[in-house]
């Protein structure tokens, strides 16, 4: 398995500001993902973080709102930009060791509240 940590674990932010969430994996992984989980809901894939190139976003998510970086094989960041209360959610980092692997691991999540 892969051990994934996220910082911060939670934050309360004001409308219009931005927050950057960090994700660190304890070993090199091929694929990293970012998910959003709204209160009481399931997980929705935001994007795949690609090392050395732009992230691949799912329908309904755009780079201007959720810029993602992935400078190496163990680290990624997700920024939630120009926040509104609708962005209040848990944001989860996830990783797979190999693209061909099925097993996918999750971090503990970052609980974001926007006031």
């Amino acid at each position: 398995s892969a051990v994934i940590s996220q910082k911060p674990s939670r934050d309360i932010c004001q409308r219009g500001t931005s927050l950057t969430i960090q994700c660190q994996v304890d070993s090199q992984v091929t694929m990293m993902f970012w998910y959003r989980q709204q209160p009481g809901q399931s997980l929705t894939l935001i994007a795949t973080a690609n090392q050395g190139s732009e992230a691949t976003y799912e329908s309904g998510f755009v780079i201007d709102k959720f810029p993602i970086s992935r400078p190496n094989l163990t680290f990624s960041t997700l920024t939630v930009s120009n926040m509104s209360p609708e962005d209040s959610s848990i944001y989860l980092c996830s990783a797979k060791r190999q693209a061909s692997s099925y097993e996918q691991y999750f971090g503990p999540g970052t609980r974001l509240t926007v006031t």
């Binding site: 398995s1 997980l43 929705t44 795949t48 799912e58 693209a99 097993e103 691991y105």
Partner: protein, 115 residues
């Protein structure tokens, strides 16, 4: 809409009973399925998986059944314990819109185990 869904949002059982959590999926091209357990304040934790060329897989106290004919997945937990109380998600591996394969999650079932 979501391609994976669960029949019941909540399930309450007594300690020692067997629990069955159900999931219906709609994408016949899905080749891999996972059950995750999510405790309050934590990220999803891998429980058990099954590939589409199988119809049953057993783990420790857990069994996953896959019925491709009716696109149905179930998780059986034997001798349910209070520590099993959590939200359970099924997820299917499909080709996402943009990112190659991705895990798509169902809505989740909250399992409550009383002593």
């Amino acid at each position: 809409g979501e391609s994976v869904g669960l029949h019941l949002p909540t399930l309450s059982v007594q300690e020692g009973d067997n629990s069955i959590i159900n999931c219906a999926y709609s994408n016949s091209a899905s080749d891999y399925f996972i059950w995750y357990k999510q405790e309050s304040g934590k990220g999803p934790q891998f429980i058990i998986d099954i590939r589409s060329n199988m119809d049953k897989r057993q783990g420790q106290r857990v069994t996953v059944l896959l019925n491709k004919t009716v696109k149905h997945l179930s998780l059986q937990i034997a001798a349910t314990q209070p520590g099993d109380s959590a939200v359970y998600f099924c997820a299917e591996n499909i080709m996402s819109n943009q990112a190659g394969t991705a895990l798509i999650f169902g809505k989740g079932t909250t399992l409550s185990v009383s002593s």
